[in-house]
């Protein structure tokens, strides 16, 4: 089945390009045919000249980034973007969510919908739509939210996955917390699942695991693309009987987003090492999975500085008790986890540690809460690799920070006039705050 990707704004268009690059390289570096064919069907279609063209739509309100991404793809020689699959304007959204959502979105609705429809019609079997964007700026967040809303209307029965990049905590856009709050609260009602990468976390991976000295946005984007591809590339589920071509978005959503109050997914993968030290590293499945499990329960987002003291609680203590002290508790309770293993001897790997009931909330049995996909094909040059997609309390703290900062600013009504002039009222802000406080409260009550 095929996924149509919609890349929005500067961030979305940069990360998207890296994603297709990783996928294309991974699937065609002498891999097995079944895997390659499934991957190609998922992300590309063949043009009449036999080239691979990505099933992607590029949207931005200014032309520079799209031009750059398209020419980078063409230069790769492996794949390219469809010649007419992009839409851009001259003037950006100026970091203003309201400008993107209320002005640019509605103004260009038809053109943007047409582009998506063309890609959808090219698919024999549509798995769903994935949008990629950041939440900080104006175009990705504002137009991105608007486009998601339109897609939900046009394709009410298709899966929609939003991939979001969350900004650096001390950001480069002053109003990023407003834009983030508005985006997340709206998407929560539209999306099937929201997959999040935090710039701060990825930046630390670049610095500490990959040993990159001068970190650029390109480095950060490549790490995001690597993790995302490791989720989306073909894999075998427990009931797929050795056949790759299943619906990756549908299976992701049904394994992880089983309750409408819980839609925030985080990703971590191991191993991630600098390419120079790859040759000297040997990994075993039990070792990788032991680390990954501890990363999950101690809420460590990369394989360094893992707190080995954290243990799963012996039995469930009342939700309200731990809820009150969530800022001090370290144990990370999950609603659902999806483990994806790729590489050599994958069928010998045992993931018992992830199936313990203590890891999960009391109202969902662990056999429902835990899923595993496997693929014997090694991924992106790693002989063995494991990726965990988790619907847990991991994102509670960054989300709480975002809401707190935006709320502090809102308390003095700073910058509100910039939004009201495009048609977003104070009440809209209040609604957004309310719905995110609700989300926070739900996640607090998990543990």
């Amino acid at each position: 089945m095929s996924i149509v990707t919609v890349q929005l704004g500067q961030c979305g268009n940069q990360v998207g390009q890296e994603l297709f690059d990783v996928i294309c390289k991974d699937a065609h570096d002498g891999q097995k045919k079944g895997y390659n064919d499934a991957s190609t069907e998922r992300f590309f279609h063949e043009t009449t000249t036999g080239d691979l063209s990505s099933r992607a739509v590029l949207i931005d309100m200014e032309p520079k980034v799209i031009n750059h991404s398209m020419s980078k793809a063409a230069k790769s020689g492996r794949w390219r973007y469809g010649e007419k699959s992009h839409f851009s304007q001259k003037q950006g959204s100026g970091n203003n969510w309201a400008n993107g959502f209320c002005v640019h979105g509605p103004r260009h609705r038809e053109a943007m919908e047409d582009l998506v429809r063309r890609e959808v019609e090219r698919c024999d079997r549509l798995a769903g739509v994935m949008t990629m964007m950041s939440v900080a700026g104006g175009t990705g967040s504002g137009v991105g939210t608007y486009v998601t809303q339109c897609l939900r209307e046009v394709y009410p029965n298709s899966f929609i996955l939003n991939h979001l990049t969350w900004p650096y905590d001390s950001g480069e856009v002053i109003v990023q917390n407003y834009n983030s709050v508005l985006t997340l609260s709206h998407l929560y009602g539209l999306s099937d699942a929201i997959l999040v990468h935090e710039n701060d976390t990825v930046h630390r991976i670049c610095a500490q695991l990959l040993n990159i000295k001068h970190i650029s946005f390109g480095d950060v984007n490549r790490v995001i693309a690597h993790q995302l591809a490791s989720v989306l590339q073909p894999a075998l589920t427990t009931d797929s009987y050795g056949v790759y071509s299943r619906n990756p978005l549908g299976e992701l959503v049904s394994s992880l987003a089983c309750h409408p109050e819980y839609k925030l997914l985080s990703v971590c993968s191991i191993p991630q090492v600098a390419s120079s030290s790859m040759a000297y590293s040997v990994f075993s499945w039990p070792g990788l999975l032991k680390h990954l499990r501890q990363m999950l329960i101690s809420n460590t987002k990369m394989e360094e500085g893992i707190d080995w003291q954290v243990r799963a609680p012996p039995a469930h203590c009342g939700g309200a008790e731990s809820a009150r002290s969530f800022r001090t508790t370290v144990f990370n309770t999950s609603l659902a986890n999806l483990l994806i293993l790729r590489g050599k001897d994958v069928f010998s790997a045992e993931a018992d540690g992830f199936q313990e009931a203590a890891l999960y909330t009391s109202w969902l049995p662990s056999r429902e809460a835990f899923s595993m996909w496997k693929s014997p094909v090694s991924f992106n040059q790693y002989e063995k690799s494991a990726t965990l997609v988790s619907n847990s309390q991991t994102l509670l703290k960054p989300l709480d920070n975002m809401v707190r900062k935006a709320w502090n600013m809102f308390a003095s009504r700073a910058y509100i006039h910039q939004y009201t002039k495009f048609g977003i009222a104070e009440e809209d802000f209040l609604d957004s705050f309310t719905s995110l406080e609700q989300v926070l409260s739900s996640y607090i009550q998990l543990g």
Binding site: K90, G94, W407, L440
Partner: protein, 477 residues
């Protein structure tokens, strides 16, 4: 890419504008060696066919430069300065259709400029601006340059501002306003400035205030250093040279500083960079409340621009300088006042890590308003100013700006108490006494808004080191 139009009004506005066009041309000539008309040039210049006299446009990108025309409208109510420009080395940049002049001047009277000339020339001004706008395929911003003290710049300049808002409500208006020195030879300058202030507060998106006195002090320091033993002044430095602009005129070096400010603020719109800042992002990020849109500019390096015997400063020194009192273009000390927000716009070989490191280093010595502790907006433009490795422009929305405003109000009050010169104003059609009190009230309430922010920050900082969070919404569970 988007385009911007410069509207320069009055003697000061036209002189500063003239320096801007000269330096902008030199900057583009330095980057664009092939003589191709590109997006960067297109943001402030048109390319017209030299065969058909100015009418035939060949604005298509990638073609050869034929004849460049500034996207500008020049307005003055006397002929001297504009005539000098159209007879000087920059004459080819402007068509006569872009100029509007009168002969008699505004007599340092805001009412003459704003009311009398404003009404008489209204249609013509709108027509000229509209024509300039029609040459743009995506007009993003107007840059208005004027002074506050005289009659034309302050009176007609602010009238033009209102017209721009009326006719082009969606286009951003960034105003560069030159404030008079305390010992100004124009006796009515406090009246003119206060009357103009109200217009700026109500109709501009952003105002970049520049004080004459501050420019004089900066130049004195620069001259002192360039007299020090050593190879002397850099000949290609854009700060104090005026080559290409004809013989140096008295205000040229001061005007060059302002022109440099404009070059830097527009650099991100004109050239590529790893972290772009669109012009509409300036007000979005730096203006939390609609009236508080006065952004204190500071440029660095200043000293090393003038004297190459001083080794180029390390980037870190440049960041420190940008926050020092000596580098502000108004006489104010942002370090000892409250920041609402701050933009750092770097050019040249600066890296993302330079920005991050210096923000981290400096933030503890600066006080930010409690609800915006991370109020930084940053940008990086890869093209450095001519002759330099890097430069930095800081735009601070800082309560220190109120010092300039209170000094202005005091001078105004002294004059107004005696009702001196009022009759010159009141005899102009449309001018009423109530306009004076409304303008003074508007200024006072602006000062009060800054005061209030200062007070709330000092009360919260005395109670605890970090101000407490606002009580959050409670969800019933």
């Amino acid at each position: 890419m988007t385009q911007s139009i410069v509207v320069q009004v009055g003697q000061c506005g036209n002189q500063v504008g003239c320096r801007f066009w000269d330096l902008a041309l030199r900057e583009h000539a330095h980057v664009n060696k092939k003589g191709v008309y590109d997006e960067a040039l297109g943001s402030f210049f048109r390319n017209v066919d030299s065969r058909s006299s100015g009418a035939g446009s060949c604005d298509t990108m990638g073609g050869r430069i034929q004849r460049l025309k500034a996207r500008a409208v020049l307005v003055d109510m006397e002929e001297g300065v504009v005539n000098q420009i159209v007879q000087g080395p920059l004459r080819d940049l402007f068509d006569t259709t872009q100029l509007l002049t009168d002969v008699s001047g505004s007599g340092n009277n805001w009412a003459v400029g704003h009311m009398t000339y404003g009404s008489a020339y209204r249609e013509q001004i709108v027509e000229k601006v509209r024509r300039a706008a029609e040459h743009c395929d995506c007009l993003q911003c107007f840059f208005l340059i004027h002074s506050m003290g005289g009659g034309t710049g302050s009176g007609l300049g602010t009238r033009v501002l209102g017209l721009l808002e009326e006719e082009f409500p969606e286009v951003c208006r960034i105003v560069t306003s030159v404030y008079p020195s305390e010992e100004d030879d124009v006796i009515t300058s406090p009246y003119n400035s206060v009357l103009a202030m109200r217009e700026l507060t109500e109709h501009a998106d952003c105002v970049l205030p520049v004080e004459n006195q501050s420019l004089v002090e900066i130049l004195t320091r620069v001259r002192l250093m360039s007299r020090a033993p050593g190879p002397g002044v850099k000949t290609d430095s854009t700060l104090i040279s005026s080559q290409g602009g004809g013989p140096e005129k008295p205000f040229d070096s001061m005007n060059n500083i302002i022109a440099n400010l404009l070059l830097n603020i527009t650099s991100s719109a004109r050239f590529e960079g790893s972290l772009n800042m669109d012009l509409n992002e300036i007000s979005m990020n730096l203006v939390p409340f609609p009236r508080l849109h006065y952004l204190v500019p500071s440029l660095s390096p200043l000293h090393s621009l003038a004297d190459c015997s001083i080794t180029p400063k390390r980037p870190d020194q440049m960041f420190s300088d940008a926050f020092s009192k000596d580098h502000q273009l108004i006489r104010a000390d942002p370090k000892n006042s409250l920041y609402l927000a701050c933009a750092l716009m770097g050019r040249g070989d600066l890296l993302l890590s330079d920005l991050r490191r210096n923000i981290h280093r400096l933030r503890s010595s600066l006080s930010f308003v409690s609800w915006n502790p991370e109020g930084w907006k940053t940008s990086l433009c890869s093209v450095a100013p001519v002759g330099h490795a890097h430069s930095l422009l800081a735009l601070a929305n800082n309560t220190c700006v109120k010092g300039t405003f209170t000094a202005l109000r005091d001078r105004y009050t002294r004059l107004y108490r005696k009702k001196a010169h009022l009759h010159h104003y009141l005899q102009e059609e449309g001018m009423e006494l109530s306009l004076f009190s409304q303008a003074a009230e508007s200024l006072s309430s602006l000062i009060e808004e800054y005061d209030q922010l200062d007070r709330s920050s000092s009360s919260s900082s005395s109670s605890s080191s970090s101000s407490p969070d606002a009580p959050r919404l409670q969800i019933a569970t």
